[in-house]
Symmetry: C2
Subunit: 188 residues, 2 copies
């Protein structure tokens, strides 16, 4: 790395999200993002492969937290509850980012390309969750089903979180969404 | 249409699937597909926008059958069971295509681009299923959750169907997969 840039990554993300919101994702250039953040393009490319990746930069940390929380959950927990523990931890991490999650969602909704990338991210989260459950001794198809159902719960809760701006507690929405899934699968 | 080509669409699909399997999707041209089917490129483009769309040509019929079956299901059925009826009907339609579904899946697994397109197709099936449930009076988030969970059930059942070549009954696998989901969400 060259000269020290305090919180360059965070500044670049904030600048990018603001510009995507103001001008649209397609119309924003990396040069503009760097300028808004008071940094150089070179610094941008030290942190992100391209302007799209700014929006998906948090995916690895989210997946790692999900997987490690499922791994550490008490062995006595049923698979669906171990999955829920991981998803609630991921929800808490998203919530720490404050308004970024809502800004991000609005940007993604504006572009078919970004929506596709988001679907891939969710599919990769589901695969990582299924693998984490298998490592707890859950067999297939239960592991895959629990993971897919868990991601469905997460997705629906996250949609409520970004739509209902008075609702700030994403882990709570995830628990409610899981209770709702339990009710609908029980035929209620 | 020009001169009458008996079952041109089916012949083109069979030729395309065979060539994708033999040479790979990327390496196959529309000219080769038309030649193998004993038809012209012009006939190909009367039926399909491009070589990728041959693999997704059945998606509309699948979605329509899913939606209409959910609409026609007895009003007494719980949302999850109305969804299951639609998914089983879709499964029966896939099964009628015989080996095409397994060939298709192997081709899709070979290409990241095709996998992305498949994720989009599944997301669009989930959205159509949620909308069909709303038309039955199911409210959100129950409608979205039931739809997402239903598509998860379908996906896991379909994966078993293409992997376990001795298992020919896709609607049965869908019912089993739903029972498994009911068991995992009940914490078993």
């Amino acid at each position: 790395m060259g000269r020290w840039e305090p919180n360059a990554r965070g500044r670049l993300m904030q600048a990018a999200f603001a510009l995507y919101g103001e001008r649209g994702f397609e119309q924003t250039t990396v040069a503009e993002i760097a300028e808004r953040a008071g940094l150089t393009e070179r610094t941008f490319f030290r942190h992100f492969a391209d302007k799209r990746e700014v929006l998906f930069a948090g995916a690895d940390a989210l997946r790692e937290l999900l997987v490690s929380t499922v791994a550490k959950a008490p062995g006595s927990l049923a698979p669906i509850d171990a999955a829920a523990a991981g998803l609630e931890a991921a929800g808490a991490l998203i919530q720490e980012g404050g308004e970024l999650a809502r800004q991000r969602q609005a940007i993604i909704a504006s572009s078919a390309e970004l929506q596709e990338r988001e679907l891939i991210k969710l599919a990769s989260l589901a695969a990582a969750l299924a693998e984490a459950l298998r490592r707890r001794g859950v067999e297939d198809p239960a592991a895959s089903l629990t993971a897919e159902a868990g991601i469905a719960v997460f997705k629906v809760a996250f949609e409520r979180y970004v739509e209902e701006t008075d609702q700030q507690d994403l882990p709570l929405l995830i628990r409610e969404s899981l209770d709702e899934l339990k009710a609908v699968t029980a035929g209620r």
